[in-house]
Amino acid sequence: MNQRSSNLLDEALGLDQASEPWPLKGRVVAIEDRVETSGSFILHHLLKRSLSRNSSNVSIFIAFAQPFSHYDRVLRKQGWNLVSQRDNGRFFFFDMLKLQCPVGDEGITPGGGLIALYGKIHKTISALPEISQKNVSIIIDDLSLMEVAANGSSDHVLDFLHYCRTLTSEFDCSLITLNHEDIYSTEDGSTFLLQMAYLADILIKVEPLATGLAADVHGQLTVSNKGRNKASNFHFKVKENMVECFYPGRSRD
């Protein structure tokens, strides 16, 4: 049941391809959510998929939004122990809430902090065994809080994301980001969202239904996959330990 119901999302992302250890490698996935429909469940889903798919897959999680214990709790309900994954060197957690990123010579400048963070990610990936180097996912939760940490400078964040993107070329890793669409409603702010839309190979929009709130359906997902030249749209419902995806009118409940 678990496997089947998430398959619409997996299909749209290309995760249904059994041939590769991590089909998202080298791709940039941008998730845009709203206040009414939080997209963090997709981050959890992708993290779970990355860990479960192949033992050589590694995830680097850069957390601005929640502490480690939160993600540990969420993934535990889905059957995954992040503590042991961290101990096994398959899960790296950079806790940006406590600003664990080393500061270096530039001091605590926003640009300096992000430069150092990039350096740390690069060092972490370089230190991995070669087989894992090819199957790394960098997950950022979330970009708006990264912007806050950079003192509102979206340029620094974009520079940082550009450098992360060079990692996708150098190491073939995947970059998965979450951002909030509705906080950028002013004219100046919407450029950041557009920059992400251009950068992304796969854009996932998590939105409420056009008709309003519902008990059986929590919202809709629109997945635009540039690589496959395909767009998908379907509804979802977030349950206790999984997310159910279905075409409109086909909820199992």
Partner: protein, 363 residues
């Protein structure tokens, strides 16, 4: 159109004139700019290799993709870069544009890393130096391709970017130059500045505009899907005599790249967008003719020039007798035809008019 652009870039500048400059601009609704850029790049480079152009080499300034991507792209198009690295050099502004990295892996001899993209004057010097290193000095010309001007605009002022492009265009060794711009990332005046600097502007637009604020709509999704596969390609040429010529084509996204076709009729495009339901939403030819032939009961235009008599339900006895005789005849012959029979309630009731009786109400 795509061929004309490539021809203009291939032919390059005439003596004493500015180099032809192309702006390729797209938007998120029709994001094929990079693919069109790749197409123009491979066409121009093939012409240079074949000796069909006065330009002896190509400098590619890459901001948005890794140089390895371009080397791979040219290889896939059947252009062997290994044997032609005397004709192309890539200025790598992608891998370390701001100097954050401690060490860089060298990709190939064709690639030179540039780490100071905030400084337009240094960028200008590097481009010219690389070009001269490629083709030599003097009057030998080379072409330039810049894959994303937005990255320059993000890190430097509009005026410094404009100055760089203008200086490149007027440099005696530049044969032709083209660049890509995402128009929706900037204010309109910035796009306008770059368009003024160009002799050709190629814009990509979606086939169908999306309705704003209705993103959850199924119809809108169908449009999004449609727009992700094809769009419109408009090219504006500024001729030397001052005349401006505008041409349009359709552009299709395919696995191998982009494909340009003449504009198809609007109807054909709309056909594909009719939602698939179990009843017929469209009219056949016969149905359309029948619909046009129906005389509406309260049409005030008359029937083929004859004065229209709106039947008010009250006729004199004589007339009615005649009418009935005619009607009976008619009935026998026109039993198929429908009729609207209306009997007025009283003599005071005026024939229906278009006036709204509630018009004088003051609500």
């Amino acid at each position: 159109m795509a061929k004309s652009i490539c021809t203009a870039l291939r032919e390059g500048a005439l003596e004493g004139e500015l180099a032809p400059a192309l702006t390729i601009k797209d938007s998120i609704a029709s994001p094929f700019g990079l693919q069109v850029f790749d197409h123009v790049l491979s066409q121009l480079f093939s012409s240079i290799l074949a000796g069909k152009s006065p330009s002896q080499g190509l400098i590619l300034v890459s901001f948005s993709r890794s140089p390895s991507f371009y080397l791979e792209l040219l290889k896939n198009k059947g252009i062997s870069v290994a044997s032609s690295d005397k004709r192309i050099q890539i200025l790598d502004c992608y891998n370390d544009p701001l100097g954050w990295k401690d060490q860089l892996v060298e990709i190939s001899s064709t690639v030179t890393v540039f780490r100071e993209v905030k400084h337009m004057d240094k960028l200008f010097n590097s481009i010219i130096e690389l070009g001269r290193g490629l083709v030599g000095g003097g009057k030998i010309r080379f072409s330039i391709a810049i894959d994303l001007v937005d990255e320059m605009l993000r890190r430097a002022s509009v005026s410094s970017v404009a100055r760089l492009l203008s200086n490149l265009r007027s440099h005696e060794q530049i044969s032709s130059i083209f660049w890509l711009l995402h128009s929706d990332l900037h204010k309109a005046r910035v796009t306008a500045v770059l368009e003024y600097l160009s002799s050709m502007v190629a814009s990509l637009e979606p086939s169908h505009q999306l309705a704003n604020g209705q993103r959850g709509d199924l119809e809108n999704f169908a449009l999004i899907e449609h727009n992700s596969k094809k769009g419109k390609f408009h090219v504006r040429f500024k001729k030397r005599n001052g005349r401006v010529r505008v041409m349009s084509e359709e552009v299709h996204m395919e696995q191998a790249g982009v494909n340009f076709t003449p504009l198809s009729s609007e109807g054909a495009i709309n056909q594909g967008l009719v939602p698939k339901v179990q009843f017929n939403l469209q009219l056949s030819e016969k149905e359309r003719i029948d619909k046009a032939n129906v005389v509406l009961p309260f049409e005030h235009q008359g029937d083929n020039g004859k004065p229209l008599q709106i039947y008010d339900g009250r006729r004199s006895l004589v007339d009615s007798k005649q009418e009935r005789a005619v009607a009976v005849e008619k009935e026998e012959s026109d039993s198929q035809r429908g009729e609207i029979i209306y009997y007025r309630d009283s003599d005071d009731e005026m024939p229906d008019s278009d006036e709204d009786p509630d018009d004088d109400l003051d609500i």
